[in-house]
């Protein structure tokens, strides 16, 4: 069951691709004075956010009522924080600022990939989501994911190496000037970009945190988190030390914010490099600590433990 739960979330996310588009239109350039008013009230985004919140709340209430499967308060808190991070990234003025400042856009992406995604993954929201649905729906969703073809492809894309590559390609690929600038010109490209950032990040964190070998494989997760931290730092460093502006589309837009386009790009690179790196370190350490405690837990089931216990017992019998 556990291994199936994130799929619906991914499906939901990808089916509502247009949701993530910038609605403001590129012609509109945000000025300093308008910042606090520049919220993005995109109906589809608002709808999705509200639906997810309502479903979640409903599911939690039902679970609590039945007390069959408990849900821990920290998970609820984690979901709430992740949900708020989504609101911050997609609804708050940060979103519109992103069409003016590369650095803000980078900040938005980092919030999606490094704050919202891991928090949502940790809260395991699919359990309450499923509980919120009528029983029959739940059944058929379960059936669907038990199909061999679905199972196999799910297993294929949630190998740690696979998600590492998928997420890495998404992060690097979208920073190619051609693709990146397309997102500021085309709503669709932009929506695809945000969906793929959030989607691959969810996949990445889900595999590393809830992957199929559970906590046993946290050691390998730490290596993947570490190497991802390194390659994103290097991308950040390339942005920081670049001599030319990579995305000339920002050229006329940054002045109102007291930054030259190159400084804006440097700031974006630095955000990816340093605060981004910090999140990776924090998650990496958490995984590492969990890995150590898992080793203690598993120790109890080894042959040696059995041997020692029986020796203790036979001695006390004598």
């Amino acid at each position: 069951m556990k291994r199936l739960v994130p799929i619906p979330l991914l499906m939901v996310l990808s089916s509502c691709t247009p949701v993530f588009a910038h609605t403001g239109g590129e012609s509109e350039i945000l000025h300093r004075d308008d910042l606090l008013r520049a919220w993005t009230w995109d109906p589809l985004i608002i709808f999705m956010l509200i639906v997810s919140l309502v479903l979640y709340a409903l599911g939690v209430m039902r679970m609590r009522a039945r007390s069959e499967r408990n849900i821990k308060s920290w998970q609820i808190a984690s979901f709430a924080a992740g949900w708020l991070a989504l609101v911050f990234a997609l609804v708050s003025p940060l979103h519109k600022l992103g069409s003016v400042l590369f650095s803000a856009h980078m900040g938005q992406h980092e919030v999606l990939m490094l704050i919202a995604a891991p928090l949502l993954v940790m809260s395991q929201p699919m359990v309450p989501f499923l509980w919120a649905l009528p029983f029959a729906w739940r059944e058929s969703i379960g059936e669907f994911f038990k199909r061999p073809a679905i199972r196999r492809s799910w297993i294929a894309i949630t190998g740690p190496l696979a998600v590492w590559i998928i997420h890495g390609v998404a992060v690097w690929g979208w920073h190619l000037p051609v693709l990146y600038q397309a997102t500021l010109q085309s709503e669709l490209a932009h929506a695809i970009q945000h969906t793929s950032f959030l989607g691959t990040a969810l996949l990445f964190w889900w595999t590393l945190i809830h992957g199929r070998f559970g906590r046993m494989s946290y050691g390998i997760s730490v290596v993947y988190v570490f190497t991802t931290a390194i390659h994103t730092s290097i991308l950040g460093a390339l942005l920081t030390f670049g001599r030319e502006v990579w995305y000339p589309i920002y050229a006329g837009r940054t002045a109102a914010w007291g930054l030259t386009p190159l400084e804006d790009q440097q700031l974006g690179g630095l955000i990816m490099w340093v605060p981004g790196g910090l999140v990776f370190i924090a998650v990496g350490l958490g995984l590492f600590a969990a890995w150590l405690s898992e080793s203690d837990r598993r120790l109890r089931f080894t042959e040696l433990a059995t041997l020692s216990n029986s020796a203790e017992r036979s001695k006390s019998e004598v």
């Binding site: 190619l176 290097i234 040696l304 020692s308």
Partner: protein, 209 residues
């Protein structure tokens, strides 16, 4: 203080008997697998740093590739196709070795030796199709080094495959040989997988960046 084994009489000792354990294992259980993964991590890091170097040099100039024409696609792409297709015989050989199937392993190794020869032959033509010298400019140096470093890996694994092929025709083929064949297959995957981003960087990036 001291271990139990020092203080207690032999007869009282609790013993964990490990003689029943196997001594031919494959995949992540074996030492050689972890050792190979360590080597891959080292070499993967080298490729990654070299690719980062390439992009760093890219940020130093506006004109890319600087003053030379794009690399010709034919041989690199052919090599990519051969590499991708080689996954099938490679997997087949690896599975045969893990089942201890001598005959199949021999056939598989022969096929893989042939594949490696084709890859190396194509590689010979790749260098001229880069359309610049290693000494023309920094861009040329970077792509020559990328291609060269990958070639070193290709040649090493090819050599390893040849030696294993020769050994597989010598009786008896013991479990340890099959472990080696399986690991060789693992390493071939590494050579194959690293070629994908390197191909992309050498041949595609100058066209789109």
């Amino acid at each position: 203080m001291g271990t139990g084994s020092n203080t207690s009489h032999p007869r009282d000792r609790i013993a964990l008997d490990v003689s029943v354990l196997p001594d031919v294992v494959f995949g992540h259980r074996s030492l050689i697998w972890l050792g190979t993964v360590g080597m891959m991590a080292i070499e993967g890091t080298m490729f990654a740093i070299l690719i980062a170097t390439y992009f760093f040099l890219r940020t130093r100039t506006t004109d890319w590739p600087p003053g030379v024409s794009n690399p010709a696609l034919t041989f690199g792409t052919l090599n990519l196709i051969v590499f991708l297709l080689s996954a099938f015989p490679n997997q087949w050989t690896k599975k045969a070795a893990e089942k201890g199937d001598v005959a199949k392993s021999r056939i598989g190794l022969l096929i893989m030796s042939a594949v490696a020869l084709i890859n190396m032959a194509l590689r010979v033509f790749e260098f001229p199709s880069l359309n610049c010298g290693w000494d023309s400019n920094a861009y040329g140096s970077a792509i020559w080094m990328l291609l060269g470093l990958h070639t070193v890996h290709l040649v090493t694994d090819a050599f390893d495959t040849f030696v294993l092929t020769a050994l597989s025709f010598r009786d008896p083929v013991e479990g340890r040989r099959f472990m080696d064949i399986s690991e060789n297959g693992e390493y071939w995957y590494f050579v194959l997988l690293t070629w994908i981003p390197i191909y992309f960087v050498i041949y595609i990036v100058p066209r789109i960046l």
